[in-house]
Symmetry: C2
Subunit: 455 residues, 2 copies
């Protein structure tokens, strides 16, 4: 495979979308994303202790992906990849903090999100209202602080309610949340009271959004902040009587609360008659963080949130679309959040997909057609002075911990736990991946790598 081939794989044509043609009836999209929920915390991925009946039913009615990857192993860059369709070697927000300033990095005005793409190329002005999607995000954003260029309402979302800031989101009973450009006080949480659980409010808004936009195509991005720390659930429910540490009970209750929210949304889709025309995804923004041993949150995967190994990157991913996606399927297609934008754009017949998108449409895989699985997926991450890169290519997983470091290679088919570096035995694969690493990223002023890090 030449360098040209590798590049071509990253920019597969989106044939239908490129022709500017769309389906007769544009589907609705609901992207439901948990916060720090490990892949194997779902019953349908093998969980035994935490109950997730709604997601299990969802999986039985849809398609379950075993090899889907988040945009990154931590929050902000993963969401940046999701929104822009660019991997962490290109997207604007590549880490939770800038290496240059230590502060947060915001999406730039010129970054175009999946919401903007669904709105249409001229959405900022008089866009094609007849074809435009109604768009809403309820939960955590993480890609722009007040006053920055990265606010949801400036990036294609008509409606926004939630946490702009990830630190703010670590409190499930906040004093306020953002509603569009205004701080909305949550008086139920005043003076130490804990009466307004943020993720419950996000669900309420999401349901209201569905009600209000049922007669037009919509994109709902529902991203509650559970089961992220603090591990605190309003009720322990079925776990109250378990002989577990309190923290474990709360954690399990948070996962089940997320599951219940999924169930509420699916019920509302049925009530409103939207079930058949709505493609729903359920996933998590990165690997599980808590990793409480009894829950085996990442199953056999190595590492957890923050790791560039599979446990940090792989996430649960379910997709359901009655009549379009075959029920009960399981797919081992490797794909990642970079593919969400092109996939939705493809299915919506949206024009104006930015040329800098790294992802491809996985609509064929969703719809049960042939899809070429042999393309590289890329991640990079920053930790102190460190710089780590990873590539997934077919059965192979490569990790490089520094630009000059050797490439470690793992055969995921034989070694899902990434225990044994087999680079020496596969020089051809290492060469292909090394060539790809040479071209797959651009340097970012916010996260300098090539220059010595001044810490």
């Amino acid at each position: 495979m030449t360098r040209r081939d590798l590049l071509a794989l990253s920019t597969l044509p989106l044939a239908r979308a490129a022709r500017g043609q769309g389906p007769e009836v544009r589907p609705n999209f609901i992207f439901i994303m948990a916060d720090d929920m490990g892949r194997d915390e779902l019953g349908c991925y093998g969980q035994k202790l935490i109950r997730t009946p709604h997601m299990d039913r969802f999986a039985a009615e849809g398609l379950r992906f075993t090899d889907c990857y988040a945009g990154a192993s931590v929050c902000a860059p993963s969401r940046s990849v999701l929104m822009t369709g660019q991997h962490t070697g290109h997207t604007t927000v590549r880490a939770n903090a800038s290496r240059r300033t230590g502060g947060r990095v915001a999406l730039r005005t010129e970054d175009r999100t999946v919401a903007e793409v669904l709105k249409g190329p001229e959405w900022r002005g008089a866009f094609d209202e007849e074809r435009a999607y109604a768009t809403g995000i309820f939960g955590k954003w993480g890609l722009g602080e007040p006053g920055s260029t990265g606010l949801p309402n400036d990036h294609g979302f008509d409606e926004w309610f939630g946490f702009l800031n990830q630190q703010h989101a670590h409190n499930h009973y906040p004093q306020y949340l953002w509603r569009n450009r205004t701080r909305e006080p949550l008086r139920g949480n005043r003076d130490g009271a804990k009466r307004e659980y943020a993720s419950d409010l996000f669900l309420r808004e999401a349901l209201h959004f569905i009600d209000r936009h049922r007669y037009e195509p919509f994109f709902l991005y529902f991203t509650p902040t559970i089961p992220h720390a603090a591990f605190e659930s309003p009720e322990l429910g079925e776990y109250a009587g378990q002989p577990w540490p309190e923290e474990h009970k709360h954690y399990a209750a948070m996962v089940t609360r997320f599951d219940t929210a999924v169930g509420r949304i699916m019920a509302r889709l049925k009530e409103t008659g939207l079930d058949d025309n709505t493609l729903v995804f359920v996933t998590s923004d990165n690997g599980g963080a808590s990793n409480f041993a009894p829950f085996a949150s990442m199953g056999p995967l190595r590492g957890r949130k923050g790791s560039i190994t599979e446990g940090g990157l792989r996430v649960p991913m379910l997709a359901r679309w009655p009549g379009k996606i075959r029920a009960g399927g399981v797919s081992a297609l490797p794909w990642s959040f970079q593919d969400v934008l092109p996939t939705m754009a493809d299915l919506a017949g949206a024009r104006g997909i930015p040329s800098n998108v790294d992802g491809i449409s996985i609509a064929p895989a969703l719809l049960g057609k042939e899809q070429n699985a042999e393309r590289p997926l890329y991640w990079e991450q920053f930790s102190g002075p460190g710089f780590e890169q990873a590539v997934r290519l077919g059965r192979w997983k490569a990790i490089r911990r520094g630009l000059q470091a050797p490439v470690a290679l793992y055969d995921l088919e034989a070694d899902i736990g990434e225990a044994k570096d087999v680079a020496a035995a596969h020089p051809g694969v290492v060469k292909r991946i090394t060539e790809y690493l040479a071209v797959c990223r651009t340097e970012s002023a916010e996260y300098p790598v090539a220059r010595p890090w001044r810490g």
Copy 2:
């Protein structure tokens, strides 16, 4: 009674509010107002054909007023009186159209609504957030067009969804509604489809408002556009099989739909635990308009919407506040929409009640205490070149059709139908009322009376 006495009656001190003291826990207020619903269309007022079980139960749990009056006999001025606490001799919007321009008149910037008063005196700037009410209006406004000084969001309402314009409101399946300062398209009504019934959307927003503001004091003004013409209900329900004209079936279904909305709101109050701390009013903006004979919408009252006789002005009025308002009471106290602002302000302990308010607090009557019923209530209205005035004073109702016309006097205790002018027999009463008429109003440039009308 001297002229001074009469004036004093119009400006009774609001003792507690004037001291700037408020209750420990400020009550929520919900003001539910139907559109053109006649007083006697409710079962609790004697209706036999139209079913209103929720309002009947509401009345049994609260207080039912037999002698409550709208602000005017038509829409816009009645709402202006409600919002400003000034009767039609002082309030800014005194008719559905200006006599000067033929166009609509908007509230002026300096007009202060009940929502502004509840917000507190400095609400436009950094008001006392801790004491401020959350305020929302869902339904019909009618007191300002886009670009005018009369928009709800400029008059104390945090949240607004509905019809600004009354003509627009005559279509129950509109192409758009206003959400705050933005037109929100209703795509369910596109291309002739009728899937989004405006008053159902108002209910949805009202319930969402209650959910979101349950932990802070709120003022919800819920003013759907039923049973106003066009007479069109999404379902005929229990009336489908009646041997009535279609229009009558639709009309009855609209009243019952309003009743169901009242029931939904009351149920939500119970679910959210707000029942005990919420004072709810149910009323109508003026007399019934349709007056379909079988329904006897105004019972024994004379006239209907547009009439200055009792049938145009008297409205159903129920008030419910568990533990505060005695259940099952009936009051014959004459009062009117001008009293709503001072009453709510009184109960909320709000400061900054405008000195130009005509109404008084009827909190004593609500709470079962003594209330002086002997004060004049005033209305004026314009119809072509005509000018009509009415005064209710105790048992008496006076009508004058022109500044120089004689005062006609009716004894409502003996003659609820205003059939017999008894002015000649009661010169003292006529003199008192004539003196009051000389001082109770100011001239408005929009509705000139004193000068000859130029048509």
